[in-house]
């Protein structure tokens, strides 16, 4: 499955994930403390400049990842045109786009395995409460493996339904899909036990 990490190599790819995450946290906290439009424009130049240094392909990827925001920006634009304070609406929209762009930048420049390593390190203290980090790592690996398997199963169920009926499957796939997930879980549990358990 595709991840959101960019294949274009940038200097940021070589920075450690922990450092990027800490920088992102401080940047986002700072961003939400800012209110003046000038300060927000200055803050926005940080992710924009960093994304621009990655070249055209990288920048296009960055823009594409901002696309889900447009309905919210549209609502903001209509709302603030209505209440007649477009300047404030612009500031809110700018802050939103900057925060999301900065977070996306970290995602685009950090490999999935490095991010997972950070999560496992964060979970390590839970070992004392009976949750070894190994088990969480196994759960993540299982989910990544089974997303394409379940997606295929969902397609098969829908195709089997259309072969039997002229109606569209829609919600009728839900019960068999959920049962498939329950069955697979039982089979995988057996397989794990047969190989010495989940640790």
């Amino acid at each position: 499955m595709l991840t959101l990490t960019s294949p274009v190599d940038t200097p940021l790819h070589r920075v450690r994930a922990e450092i990027k995450l800490a920088a992102l946290c401080s940047f986002t906290v700072l961003l939400f403390a800012l209110h003046s439009p000038v300060a927000l424009v200055l803050a926005a130049t940080v992710p924009v400049a960093l994304i621009a240094t990655g070249g055209a392909v990288f920048a296009r990827h960055g823009l594409r990842m901002l696309r889900p925001l447009w309905p919210f920006l549209l609502v903001l634009a209509i709302w603030h045109a209505w209440t007649d304070d477009l300047a404030q609406g612009l500031a809110i929209g700018l802050r939103l786009v900057t925060a999301v762009a900065a977070a996306n930048l970290v995602t685009m420049t950090t490999r999935l395995s490095d991010m997972l390593a950070v999560i496992e390190a964060l979970l390590a203290p839970l070992a004392r409460f009976g949750l070894p980090p190994r088990r969480a790592a196994l759960a993540f690996a299982l989910v990544i493996r089974f997303i394409p398997v379940l997606a295929d199963r969902l397609t098969q169920i829908a195709e089997a339904f259309t072969a039997r009926s002229r109606r569209r499957p829609r919600w009728r796939v839900l019960v068999p899909a959920t049962l498939a997930a329950l069955d697979d879980a039982d089979h995988v549990a057996e397989a794990l036990r047969a190989r010495g358990g989940a640790g």
Partner: protein, 180 residues
């Protein structure tokens, strides 16, 4: 032990896959995805604790950069966007939905419907509305107004969650982990 782990993992995968199902457009033009239905099912089928853990695993994988949130979204950016409140509320929603099915001895379909409505709508909005209010700099009432667009879709999902949970209980009574 292995069974708990694999159930949590497989339901996290189910939530991801339900996000890939193309959304249905309601009359209002608001897309309705099956993903939050998956969140409700985590609770009503797996029960409170395992359901919430499945949703947490799903969210961790969204955060590390898999594009498995509905509409192909993912990465840390979604936690800085207007929907962050809903994401934070997802595990709590699954927990509450599961708790109702576990503790209330009403018929499964009814308990699942009430659980899905309490968790997947009431609790979820209690997180989603403040999140949107902060991110878009609106008052709570204004944010609540923006969110009403999602209500019809969520009402449909509550009914579906109840029907699916009852369907599983009828076809495979032992499989419903929220009702041991």
């Amino acid at each position: 032990m292995e069974r708990s782990l694999t159930h949590i993992a497989l339901f996290a995968a189910l939530v991801a896959v339900l996000g890939l199902v193309p959304p249905i457009m309601l009359g209002s033009g608001v897309p309705v995805t099956a993903q939050s239905l998956g969140i409700m099912l985590c609770g009503t089928v797996l029960g409170a604790r395992k359901g919430a853990l499945a949703v947490l695993v799903f969210l961790a994988l969204v955060a590390v950069g898999l594009p498995i949130l509905s509409g192909g979204r993912g990465g840390l950016g979604v936690f800085a966007g207007p929907s962050v409140g809903f994401l934070v509320g997802f595990p709590v929603a699954a927990f509450v939905a599961g708790l109702v099915v576990e503790r209330w001895s009403a018929p499964v379909g009814l308990a699942a419907g009430v659980g899905a409505a309490l968790g997947g709508v009431f609790v979820l909005y209690a997180f989603g509305i403040p999140g949107m209010a902060v991110m878009l700099d609106k008052t709570l009432a204004e944010a609540a107004l923006l969110i009403t667009a999602y209500l019809p879709g969520d009402a449909i999902k509550v009914v579906l969650a109840a029907l699916v949970t009852r369907g599983i209980a009828q076809m495979r009574p032992g499989a419903l982990l929220s009702r041991p």
